[in-house]
Symmetry: C2
Subunit: 320 residues, 2 copies
C-alpha cells in the first residue's frame, strides 16, 4: 500500500477535480506481504483515466485472481466520463481488493466496498488510511470541508526575518532551498501572494525546473481590487473556490491573513543560517491573544537540510 500511496502522489494537483489515487495489481493474490506487482496506475491529469482503470488496462487478463491495492475506495457511481471502478474490478475478476481510505463522497462512501463484497471479492480496508488521506490532502480537504488545502511558505533568517528593513531579500536561502520551493509550486494548483509582494516584485511564480514548466500553477492575488492581467483576484482567504490546493508565498500580510482566518494546513519553513537583525518579520498580527493558545497547533512532519538551509514542514495538529 505504501507503494500505491507513492504512486498516488504523482497525480497530486494534476488530477483535479478527481482524487489523486494510486493502484497496484499484484499476483498471486498474497495473503501475506509478497507477490509480484504486475501493473500500476494513478489518476491521470484532468482526472481520467482513474488509477484502477489504468492499472487494469495494463494488467489485462493477468488481473484475474489478483489483488488490487487502491489508496481510495473504488468509485461506485457511473459518470458520463467513464465506467465506475467497482464494476471494472469485478469484470476483471480480481480476487481481493485492499483499500486505504474510504471515499467520503456520498455517491460512494461504503457503496464501493459493499458492491465488491456482494460480487464475492474479499475486501480489506483502512490500511494506511491516514497516509493515503495525507497524500490526497487537497482533494480530501475539499471533499470533507468544502475548502482548499493551504500551504504557507516562509523563507527566513534564523531571527525570523523575510527581508532586510529596506525590503531586500535576495537571497536569504540558497539554491537548493529555492529549487525545492519550485518543486512545491509544481504540486499546487494555485500560488497566492499579497498586494505588497505583487507591487514590490511582480513575481512570475512560474516553475523553473526542467520538465515541470508545464506544471506552473494559477496565480492568485489577495486584493479587494481588480486582478492584474493573468491573475485571479481573491478578496479573502475564505473566498477561494476554484482550486483545491493553494501555496501562499508572500508576504507577511498574506501569510498573516490566512493564519488569522485559520486557513493554513501546512507550513513550509525554509531557514537560512544567517542573522539579519531588525529586518522584516515573517508575520504581522494573527489574532493571538494568549501564548497558551499558540501551542499544540503544529506537528513536525518533516525536517531536512537543503544545502546549508533547513526545511521544517509542520502540519496542522488540530482544528480551530
Amino acid at each position: 500500500m505504501a507503494a500505491a500511496i507513492a504512486l498516488s502522489r504523482r497525480g497530486r494537483s494534476a488530477s483535479a477535480p478527481n482524487p489523486n489515487v494510486g493502484c497496484l495489481i499484484v499476483q498471486p493474490a498474497p495473503a501475506e506481504a509478497g507477490g509480484k506487482v504486475i501493473a500500476r496506475g494513478w489518476t491521470q491529469a484532468g482526472g481520467r483515466p482513474h488509477a484502477e482503470a489504468m492499472a487494469l488496462a495494463a494488467a489485462g487478463d493477468a488481473a484475474h485472481g489478483a489483488t488490487a491495492y487502491v489508496t481510495l475506495e473504488p468509485c461506485a457511481h457511473a459518470s458520463p466520463r467513464g465506467p465506475c471502478c467497482t464494476d471494472a474490478l469485478i469484470t476483471a475478476g480480481v480476487a481481493r481488493v485492499v483499500i486505504a481510505a474510504q471515499d467520503p463522497d456520498p455517491r460512494t462512501d461504503g457503496k464501493g466496498i459493499a458492491r465488491l463484497q456482494e460480487a464475492g471479492i474479499e475486501v480489506v480496508s483502512s490500511l494506511l488510511a491516514a497516509e493515503a488521506r495525507a497524500a490526497m490532502a487537497p482533494w480530501w480537504t475539499r471533499a470533507t470541508q468544502g475548502r482548499p488545502f493551504v500551504t504557507l511558505k516562509l523563507a527566513t533568517s534564523l531571527d525570523g526575518c523575510i527581508a532586510r528593513a529596506d525590503g531586500s531579500s535576495r537571497w536569504i536561502t540558497g539554491t537548493r532551498a529555492r529549487a525545492h520551493g519550485h518543486l512545491e509550486r509544481a504540486s499546487h494548483q494555485a500560488i497566492l501572494v499579497g498586494r505588497g509582494t505583487f507591487d514590490a516584485d511582480e513575481p512570475k511564480l512560474d516553475v523553473r525546473l526542467s520538465g515541470l514548466e508545464g506544471r506552473s500553477p494559477k496565480k492568485f492575488l489577495l486584493t479587494s481590487g481588480p486582478a492584474p492581467d493573468g491573475w485571479t483576484a481573491v478578496a479573502s482567504p475564505e473566498a477561494i473556490d476554484a482550486v483545491d490546493s493553494v501555496l501562499v508565498e508572500g508576504g507577511a500580510g498574506a501569510a498573516s491573513a490566512f493564519l488569522a482566518a485559520d486557513r493554513v494546513d501546512r507550513l513550509l519553513l525554509y531557514r537560512a543560517p544567517i542573522l539579519i537583525g531588525g529586518g522584516k518579520p515573517a508575520l504581522g498580527d494573527i489574532g493571538l491573544t494568549d501564548l497558551a493558545d499558540a501551542h499544540d497547533r503544529w506537528r513536525l512532519a518533516d525536517s531536512r537540510l537543503l544545502g546549508s538551509d533547513r526545511l521544517d514542514v509542520y502540519e496542522r495538529a488540530r482544528e480551530g
Copy 2:
C-alpha cells in the same frame, strides 16, 4: 583521545583560570588503538590539580611504561601552585604521550613537547586538536584572543519572536528546552542580560537543576549605569575581562549589541512549534548593510529535538 576530551568538558567553566584539560592513562602503551584505561583525570575546580596530576596520582606505579592521552600539551612552566605536568609525566615514567592541542601559552607552546622528547618519551601530537580546542573554547578564546567566549541564547517561536507584542513570553519553549537552558547556564562563568530584561523580569538566572545549584554563574548587566546588588555592570560587549565564558540570555537589545560588536561565538537557538505573529523580534539592528555579508558566518554544530522544540547550535564559521 575522544574519551579524554569528554573528560575535559567536566571542568569547563569551573577550572578557570586554568584550561579544562582531560587526561587518560592507558596500559600497556598501545601502538594501535586498544589497551586498558587505568586512570582518568580532569582539571579540578579552581584549576588545580591539573588533569595529568590527578590521573598520575590515581595510576601510581602503574603509570610506568604507560601511554598518557592529554587534550592539551602538558605545561612546561613551574607555578607557585604546583609542579609542572611535563616533569610529573617524566618522573612517573610514562613511555608515550599523545597530545590533542598544542598549548598557545607562550610559557609552554612547544616546550612541553620538547622536554618530553628530550627525556626519551615518544610524543604524538595534533590528534583531534580541533575537537579538544572546542571543548576548552572559553579558555582558548581568552588565551589566543584576550576576550571571553560568548554564547547567545535565543528562545523563539517559528516566526522568530521572543515574546508577544505585550511582552508576555511564558512560555514559548517547553520544560525540556528550559531544562537544557539551565544546563547551559551551569557551563558558563557568567550570564548577561540587558537593561530592558532586567527591568521587566529581574531574572534570577540561577541553575535550577538538582545537583548543579552550586554552578550558578555570575550575573552581568549590560548597562552604562551602576550595578544592582548582586550584579556586575558591564558597559559594553568589549568590556568583559573577569570571565572566560558568558551566556547572553536576553533580550533583543543585549543580543543585538553583542552581534553588532562581532562578539558572539556560538548561537543556541531554541525554537518552539508555535506562531505568534506581530510579536517582539529576537534581534534589533546588528549593523548588517548587505544580505551577502550575512552568509557564511555560522556553521550548524548540533541539532536536536527537545520535546516538541528544536535546538539548533551554530558556531562562528569565520572572524569578522
